[in-house]
């Protein structure tokens, strides 16, 4: 037998585990390095504070906006829009996508159209939406819906297509009707994949939220970024970006928990 591999060798071997302590240390170091470079550039005077705020300034902006209650207001406004758009989109895309991947006739009916729309850049529709719908919350919800729905549809159809036909056949030989096979085999078999799709597309919903809020909004995290740009408040822009990142991280963890609860068998 060869001697035990050294730590270095393990780090350099593809798909080989490294000790958890080392992993956590490396993750932390990357964050520290990033903040260190940032602090060096700003406190060291390399970058002008008009373009890159100091970490301290961002923390101050955070305290200021929390203090006057405006951060909570804008976060609530953004979360509201994202959730409404994402939920409407998901409620339609999940059943429709499952049908599209399950019944060839539905696939024939929808797939060409969906694939056409899927490649249209959502941003190019924003002027049209403003013209049609105005600049209220409905417009932002529409942008998010348009950005996520068609992607979700295609991804969920793929998941349902990937459910093993042997499972369906087994259910038939056990007395399942076609309806049973869809409800009691196909649907549960698709749950983990559907939740993964929702988790991924939630990130896209946040992207389109900012697009929508940059153009047409009077509240929300995208809106305060835009307003801050006009007033050269780079610290607020950074704060808005950081808050969106944290919110994204939180929803991601939430989806992980939901998946753990709804599909413990697939972990």
């Amino acid at each position: 037998m060869a001697a035990r591999r050294s730590l270095l060798q393990r780090c350099l071997t593809p798909k080989t585990e490294v000790p958890r302590a080392l992993g956590v240390t490396v993750s932390s170091l990357v964050w520290l390095a990033l903040i260190g470079v940032w602090a060096g550039l700003t406190y060291g005077g390399v970058m002008s504070e008009i373009f890159l705020p100091t970490p301290g300034a961002v923390v101050e902006a955070f305290a200021r906006l929390v203090g006057d209650g405006s951060l909570a207001l804008h976060v609530t406004a953004s979360v509201e829009v994202v959730l409404i758009g994402f939920i409407i989109s998901s409620l339609l895309a999940v059943p429709l996508g499952l049908l599209m991947g399950t019944f060839h006739i539905v696939q024939y009916a929808l797939e060409p159209l969906v694939n056409f729309i899927r490649y249209l850049p959502v941003t190019s529709f924003v002027p049209l939406f403003i013209l049609w719908i105005g600049i209220g919350i409905e417009e932002r919800v529409t942008v998010i819906f348009f950005g996520t729905f068609f992607q979700q549809l295609v991804m969920i159809a793929d998941i349902s297509r990937g459910v093993s036909k042997d499972l369906l056949n087994a259910s038939y030989t056990l007395g399942a009707s076609r309806r049973d096979a869809v409800l009691h085999v196909l649907a549960p078999a698709a749950i983990p994949g559907v939740l993964d799709t929702l988790r991924v597309t939630m990130g896209w919903a946040w992207t389109y939220l900012v697009v929508a809020e940059l153009v047409a909004a009077s509240s929300g995290l995208g809106y305060i970024s835009m307003k801050a740009m006009r007033g050269f408040q780079v610290d607020v822009i950074f704060l808005a970006i950081a808050v969106i990142g944290v919110l994204g991280l939180l929803t991601d963890q939430l989806f992980r928990l939901v998946r753990l609860r709804m599909a413990p068998w697939a972990q």
């Binding site: 030989t173 056990l174 078999a189």
Partner: protein, 276 residues
């Protein structure tokens, strides 16, 4: 109602030969008729499986033996010919023809108990009875202790044992087995064969079993059907008169070896025919 059910039932069994449980007549299966490149998978197969018989189909790989099973299960339709189960034409799949597949087909989101219960629930069997049936068949396959486990926690052999229990729980008229032990290592395969022999020799459920393993075919079967290479036809049937109960070490018996030699001979000719 006849006043003498016992007296009337008895002679009928002796006099007329019983109608076969499964009757397959002149069955033909073609693939790809729509694309123009027709492939004949099965050609003119006729066979009868009597009630309580363990029938095995062996043949070279790709000979259509699994297709035959899918036709009986109703998961595919024959191009021509008829398949009758207890005199009724087969149309579409149903719980009267339970099937164990070569691939693992347990529902991964259901526990072992819920998997075995699946067919009973579809058939709206009341909960108390379901419980009894599930316990009985899980006991039969030796997995009573694992009723709350999920399939991913089980080994391949255990999963196939649950699949057998799941098919038997519906009390099918015939059990269809499509190389159920094909994916298992040889030790596990041996213990699965032992288990199947034990359950079968107690209940004598009618079985149609497909395998490419000749030892397995002889060890389990009352009758072995040898198929030709594609298009699959029945070449010959070999009765296996090795007494029951059977044990794994019977593969060394002279009787066993004689049957094996005969089947090997049939298959060897088959392969040579194919190479011409």
């Amino acid at each position: 109602m006849t006043p003498f059910p016992v007296a009337s039932a008895r002679p009928s069994r002796v006099e007329a030969p019983q109608a076969p449980k499964l009757h397959i007549r002149d069955v033909r299966l073609e693939y790809g008729a729509r694309t123009g490149r027709t492939v004949v998978a099965i050609e003119g197969i006729s066979l009868d499986v009597p009630d309580k018989e363990f029938a095995v189909v062996v043949g070279p790989s790709g000979c259509g033996k699994s297709s035959l099973l899918y036709l009986v299960a109703g998961l595919a339709d024959p191009t021509a010919g008829e398949i009758l189960l207890s005199g009724q034409p087969v149309s579409g799949p149903g719980p009267d023809r339970g099937m164990v597949f070569q691939s693992y087909t347990l529902f991964p989101w259901l526990t072992v108990r819920e998997n075995v219960e699946f067919g009973l629930k579809r058939r709206k069997v009341p909960p108390a009875e379901r419980e009894d049936v599930v316990n009985r068949y899980l006991n039969d396959v030796g997995l009573a202790a694992f009723h709350d486990a999920y399939p991913k926690q089980l080994s391949g052999g255990m999963m196939q044992r649950v699949a057998i229990a799941r098919a038997l729980a519906n009390d099918p008229q015939i059990l269809l087995m499509d190389e159920p032990f094909g994916a298992l290592d040889s030790q596990t395969r041996g213990s699965m064969q032992k288990l199947l022999l034990k359950v079968w020799e107690r209940d004598h459920k009618t079985v149609l079993f497909v395998t490419h393993d000749i030892d397995e075919a002889i060890l389990l079967g009352d009758r072995v059907y040898v198929m030709t290479a594609r298009p699959g036809r029945l070449k010959e049937q070999v009765a296996v008169s090795i007494p029951r109960p059977r044990t794994l070490d019977m593969v060394m018996d002279p009787g066993f070896i004689a049957v094996k030699r005969r089947i090997l001979d049939l298959l060897r000719h088959e392969i040579r025919d194919d190479e011409d």
